[in-house]
């Protein structure tokens, strides 16, 4: 049992959980969160792939990729949340 194995499976599990949430969640906010979980899962996979048995240093390229992925995801999340807020405003106006 090495960390890459443990966290690799963890990452895949998190991705799967996110997938279930993305398809089944009912609230808009929760679906966004589920997608974020998927992205964390993908991040796990890349970080695990980069891991090397110490004392070897890990492969830096996947690390850079994950950092990029995180920034991309926060951008996408921000847009999705802005959509949700705007929609809620419009819907609330209609109700009022």
């Amino acid at each position: 049992m090495t960390p890459d194995l443990i966290y690799g499976v963890t990452g895949i599990a998190v991705f799967g959980i996110g997938l279930v949430g993305a398809l089944c969640a009912q609230e808009r906010l929760r679906r966004v969160l589920a997608l974020k979980l998927c992205s964390v899962g993908a991040g796990f996979l890349l970080v695990v792939g980069a891991w090397r048995e110490p004392p070897d240093t890990p492969d830096p390229v996947p690390h850079a990729l994950v950092i990029t992925g995180i920034v991309v995801m926060v951008s996408a999340t921000a847009v999705a949340l802005a959509l949700i807020r705007r929609l809620q405003t419009l819907e609330a106006e209609d109700d009022a």
Partner: protein
């Protein structure tokens, strides 16, 4: 220091700088947008000339070279897609000038241009990329800009559709990213050459499956099309034209590339993809027959056409895979041009008549004849009537399927064609007929300069059919990938 300019770099950086400029100077955004589009188109033509002269060309960004760095590569297919994007994009931009001129559209005007130019950056980036992680970033650029364009009108329907689109887009991209992770684990590199070199294994299969599902979600193949009709139908006309004509093609293009480098391992899988395409053709056709609004009908026809492209891909099974992408590419090009024309024309009709309810089209006191004519021309290409490029695409599809004895694909295509005749003639006969009792008919009302761009597009869609042979020769330049390395 005078920098060396490369047309590939320009094709990506010009729209990027254009987007920055358009965002910084909202008042001049339209002018900046048009100039950028014109210059980008010029750069792409320059690139086309270079590719025509010397075959596929590569720029190793940063001088590192793949796999450490990222290479940009242009071959026939990518240049064809670039040409489609920038040329159609230019004409849609011209149409957008008119379509967004309303006094109440100041905000739309202000944001249309930076978003569209960012979108163009992303699409051009996709067509030149040779690195799958880079492709992931590019499709995210496309996704964010495209969602922004979808909700440009700010109506509730558009926002709802935009949110669904956003969810689908992010999920598709994340599936793709997960696939990238598996490729890295197995192959240790992310460039296309690495994909070709990779040994088949469980990880590679998982990667291929994840990436393909992600792409199918982004390109809206049945049954993953659920987000498309509402998103494309509720956007403003130029945005719809861009989304339907161009944006879904980016994911399709990546799909074609990936399946070239990582061939689908199994005949059953190919048939499955074709079957999904058949589902799209039938279901999309039925929905188009039932659609009550013009733009919704056009959006469903996009679902049908995407299905058709996948049938073209699967038309001859494993044996024909090396040839099938050409038929698919022809259909992609044909649909890009014709659908952009059709959405713009539908937008014009809606602007002139004031609504787009199909059943009331013949009661309109105004007849935007030129827009209707444009719509009809685009329909000819989408139905696949000669001599349009759509016809040539369908011809290649059925020819390959027949030669391989895959009669079911021929049958589906025929049924699809027949259905498309049926749903388009719902609209076309409404154009032709007139209710003499209720409405005075002014035949030549509603001509406007704004019709010039969609009409040009529609005529191009028809005329390109005459150039099919040179187009086919062109897209074969640099194929297959390995030969050019």
């Amino acid at each position: 220091m005078t920098p060396d300019l490369d047309p590939m770099i320009l094709a990506i950086f010009l729209p990027l700088f254009g987007a920055i400029a358009a965002f910084m100077l909202p008042r001049a955004a339209a002018l900046i947008g048009l100039v950028t589009l014109a210059m980008t188109t010029g750069a792409v033509f320059w690139l086309a000339q270079r590719v025509l002269a010397s075959g596929a060309v590569i720029v190793p960004l940063g001088g590192w070279g793949a796999p450490l760095g990222i290479d940009l590569r242009a071959d026939g297919l990518s240049v064809a897609m670039l040409l489609l994007t920038s040329a159609v994009g230019f004409l849609v931009s011209v149409a957008a000038l008119d379509s967004l001129k309303g006094a109440d559209q100041a905000r739309q005007r202000q944001y249309f241009w930076p978003l569209w130019l960012l979108l163009l950056t992303g699409m051009n980036g996709v067509y030149l990329s040779t690195d799958i992680f880079n492709l992931y970033v590019m499709i995210e650029v496309i996704a964010l800009a495209a969602v922004g364009l979808t909700v440009l009108s700010g109506t509730k329907a558009a926002l709802r559709a935009g949110l669904e689109y956003m969810y689908a887009s992010i999920l598709g991209a994340l599936l793709f990213l997960m696939g990238v992770g598996f490729v890295y684990m197995q192959a240790g590199r992310l460039d296309f050459a690495g994909l070709i070199a990779a040994e088949p294994s469980a990880a590679m299969s998982a990667a291929l499956a994840l990436m393909i599902v992600g792409l199918l979600l982004k390109t809206a193949l049945f049954p993953l099309h659920f987000w498309l009709p509402a998103a494309h139908a509720n956007a403003t006309a130029p945005a719809s034209a861009l989304l339907s004509g161009l944006v879904v093609k980016a994911a399709l293009y990546i799909f074609l590339r990936l399946t070239t480098y990582m061939p689908l391992p199994d005949e059953i899988l190919i048939t499955l993809i074709g079957a999904l395409g058949a589902g799209a053709v039938l279901w999309g056709g039925l929905q188009a027959l039932r659609a009550e609004r013009l733009k919704l009908l056009v959006a469903w026809s996009t679902v049908v056409q995407i299905g058709l492209i996948f049938i073209a891909f699967a038309r001859a099974g494993q044996v024909g895979l090396a040839e099938s992408w050409k038929a698919a590419a022809l259909l992609i090009l044909a649909h890009g041009v014709a659908k952009a024309a059709m959405f713009l024309a539908a937008g014009r009709i809606k602007d002139e008549i004031g609504h787009d309810r199909i059943r009331d089209l013949d009661r309109a006191p105004v007849r935007p004849t030129l827009a209707q004519f444009t719509f009809a021309l685009a329909a000819i290409s989408l139905i696949g009537l000669p001599p349009s490029l759509g016809f040539i695409g369908k011809w290649s599809l059925m020819e390959g399927a027949m030669a391989a004895g895959y009669w079911h694909w021929v049958a589906i295509t025929m049924i699809g064609t027949f259905m498309s005749v049926a749903y388009f003639s719902r609209v076309l006969s409404a154009f032709l007929r007139f209710d003499r009792v209720r409405a005075p008919v002014g035949e030549h009302q509603g001509w406007a300069l704004a019709d010039a761009a969609p009409l040009t597009l529609a005529l191009t869609a028809i005329g390109l059919g005459l150039m099919a042979a040179p187009i086919l020769r062109f897209i074969e330049i640099g194929y297959p990938f390995g030969a050019a390395l």
